[in-house]
């Protein structure tokens, strides 16, 4: 049998455009697998020469799903260039907005993109394996998903003026205080949202047994984990310091601030993808492969910090002796984070300082360099800018969550392909599992375009001469 290649193009139900290729050896066994990101954006280059004060609103345009995350990391990098301590009320408001982003994005990932796999099964008819299939099979779950995402989006609109590409977060703070009316609107929706998060968690836990094989094979391997932790090692999405943890649950590096990230994180480029790959510098590549995002965050922390999420986290940590290694549990971690985010929003809004009118510090550029680090829904997001004497950007580097996870996603695709792909006959369930492991990471490939028409998904099995041996379409 000659060497063959299977291509999944495009990968569906993720944010952005990508494909997967699986290479088989002479005996039809999986030899290698690649996750290719096929889109190119170039933000780091074309922002050169722009005033740094424009960066948050420019960077928010990177993505229509997580503009708030880029807005936040960019504004923090600009705060560092201003060299100001922003008002406490602005920090509080930014935190709430960032958590609302976590809620809406996690809801999108779990309910809209992945729940069809979980509810209907990986082998279900692809024509039904979408949100409409969920609506038919479990309308209550679908209603909960719609409601939760709507609530997260609504908070963003109430606070920042619009749901997509808001510009409310600015260097030095935010550009408008929160009104009591808006605060009350947000608070009024919290009890229902918390109920939804809690019952979805119960549902997910009750379904776990059905996915033993996926739990065992979905990017389930030892790796490092990285993310921000707050004071006392608590769960943190807006500020804090970076921590690396190994698979055994031991802290490898801790207390890394913005200025020190480059000593610990290095990037490399592969010729087969536009997505850069990050690794833990002291260990090199590939030994220094790490994961970020909800699973990593719940692995690296010492505690959650809110009552209900803490209970769930304690249960989650029972899954493994060290770090929880299966990437299938990204879904589980996402739900716990939604609960945490809602509880924290409630706490932050309940303090009278949230209505403080002093929400912005003004200054000129006082530093020639600034780094902003936040936790986006998908993981750690780093914006690093350098400016000249006029405050114009001379250099920018962005390390996004999906880049941190790139090596782990590739390794995950290989693991799933080796487990499920056999010989030269392709099956729909195989196709979906290879995609589903990517979906578990919830990569965001910065999709900002309207798709027209039906998305084609096709796997082709070709022999060494390029002849198609088998094809699966949906």
């Amino acid at each position: 049998m000659s060497r063959q290649k299977i291509v999944i193009d495009p990968v569906t139900r993720i944010e952005g455009h990508s494909k997967i290729s699986i290479h088989l050896d002479d005996d039809g066994r999986v030899e290698e697998a690649y996750f290719h990101v096929t889109q190119f954006r170039g933000f780091e280059k074309f922002c050169e020469g722009r005033p740094f004060s424009e960066m948050p609103s420019v960077m928010a345009r990177i993505c229509g799903i997580c503009p708030v995350s880029h807005l936040m990391a960019s504004a923090k990098a600009c705060d560092a260039i201003l060299a100001v301590r922003i008002p406490e009320s602005a920090v509080r408001l930014r935190r709430i907005l960032n958590l609302a982003q976590i809620v809406q994005s996690h809801a999108l990932s779990f309910f809209y993109l992945s729940s069809a796999d979980l509810l209907l099964g990986m082998d279900a008819d692809p024509a039904a394996r979408n949100l409409f299939g969920v609506i038919r099979a479990n309308p209550a779950l679908a209603r909960d998903g719609v409601r939760l995402r709507q609530y997260g989006q609504q908070i963003i609109e109430w606070m920042a003026g619009k749901r997509i590409h808001p510009t409310w977060v600015v260097p030095g703070g935010v550009n408008e205080p929160l009104t009591a009316e808006k605060r009350d609107l947000i608070l009024a929706g919290l009890p229902e949202a918390i109920q939804i998060a809690r019952r979805t968690l119960e549902w997910f836990k009750s379904e776990n047994e059905r996915f033993r094989e996926e739990i065992r094979t979905f990017a389930n391997f030892p790796s490092l984990f990285m993310g921000l932790v707050g004071e006392g090692g608590g769960l943190e999405h807006y500020d804090g310091k970076l921590r690396f943890l190994d698979a055994g649950g031991h802290i490898v590096a801790d207390g890394i601030d913005g200025a020190g990230y480059a000593n610990h994180i290095a990037e490399l480029a592969h010729p087969w993808t536009y997505l850069k790959t990050s690794y833990y510098k002291p260990m090199g590549y590939p030994e220094g492969v790490y994961r970020v995002g909800p699973l990593a965050r719940l692995n690296i922390i010492d505690g959650c910090g809110t009552p209900r999420a803490s209970q769930e986290w304690a249960e989650f940590r029972e899954l493994d002796r060290g770090a929880v290694l299966s990437s299938f549990y990204y879904h589980y971690a996402r739900l716990i984070e939604i609960l945490y985010a809602l509880e924290t929003i409630e706490r932050l809004l309940s303090a009278p300082q949230v209505l403080d009118k002093n929400v912005r510090a003004f200054a000129r550029a006082n530093n020639s360099e600034g780094v902003g680090i936040t936790e986006a829904p998908r993981g750690t997001l780093i914006h690093h800018y350098k400016v000249d004497g006029d405050g114009l950007i001379t250099w920018a580097n962005l390390i996004i969550a999906t880049g941190h996870n790139n090596a782990a996603m590739n390794r995950g695709v290989l693991q799933v392909a080796r487990h499920f792909v056999h010989g030269n006959r392709l099956q729909e369930g195989m196709l979906n599992r290879v995609e589903a492991v990517i979906r578990a990471f919830d990569p965001c490939l910065s999709c900002s375009t309207h798709a027209v028409g039906r998305l084609a998904l096709e796997i082709e099995l070709r022999d060494a001469a390029g002849e198609v041996v088998d094809t699966v379409r949906q």
């Binding site: 569906t12 139900r13 229509g64 809209y112 993109l113 692809p126 024509a127 394996r129 979408n130 949100l131 409409f132 609506i135 038919r136 309308p139 679908a142 209603r143 998903g145 719609v146 409601r147 995402r149 709507q150 989006q153 749901r163 997509i164 999709c447 309207h450 798709a451 027209v452 039906r454 998305l455 998904l457 949906q474």
Partner: protein, 153 residues
């Protein structure tokens, strides 16, 4: 419950693609009717099923890629379940109506009001033809009420 829900959608930075977005923004500024709720969005998403389910009539304002520039058409929309890739990167008026019916049991009627665009290149301005059609539409809605938008000419 608003009896009419108007959803204007499109990309306001892609020329005439922003017709629905601009028209809805203008309607929000001029229409004072508690029976009318107006939303401006850049694309249709599943969350819209909820407000759609609470309306008697949903009017979708969108640009059309084909047709004589500035030509306005009003077409009834029937609920229709979308295909396998539904709701991942886009939704349709028919899909949202079907989803609202399945999830909330609503009987919301839908209508698509579209204006054929002339120029979809980068830019925040509408072409002259689409601008003229937008003004006519607004005049009509203000003079005769938003219900007039829901009836095919």
């Amino acid at each position: 419950m608003a009896r009419i829900l108007i959803i204007g959608y499109g990309n306001p930075l892609r020329g005439d693609d922003g017709f629905g977005w601009h028209a809805a923004q203008r309607l929000r500024e001029t229409v004072r009717d508690s029976d009318v709720e107006i939303l401006t969005v850049q694309q249709l998403t599943p969350e819209l099923m909820d407000p759609i389910s609470r309306a008697a009539k949903a009017i979708f304002l969108d640009a059309a890629a084909t047709g004589e520039p500035g030509h306005l058409s009003v077409t009834p929309v029937d609920p229709a379940v979308m295909g396998p890739a539904s709701f991942t990167h886009f939704a349709t008026p028919a899909g949202l109506l079907a989803g609202a019916r399945a999830l909330y049991g609503s009987e919301t009627a839908g209508v698509l009001v579209s204006v054929a665009g002339a120029d979809f290149s980068l830019g925040a301005e509408l072409s002259e033809a689409v601008l003229r059609a937008t003004e006519e539409l607004l005049d009509l809605a203000v003079r005769d009420g938003c219900w007039v938008l829901a009836h095919p000419a």
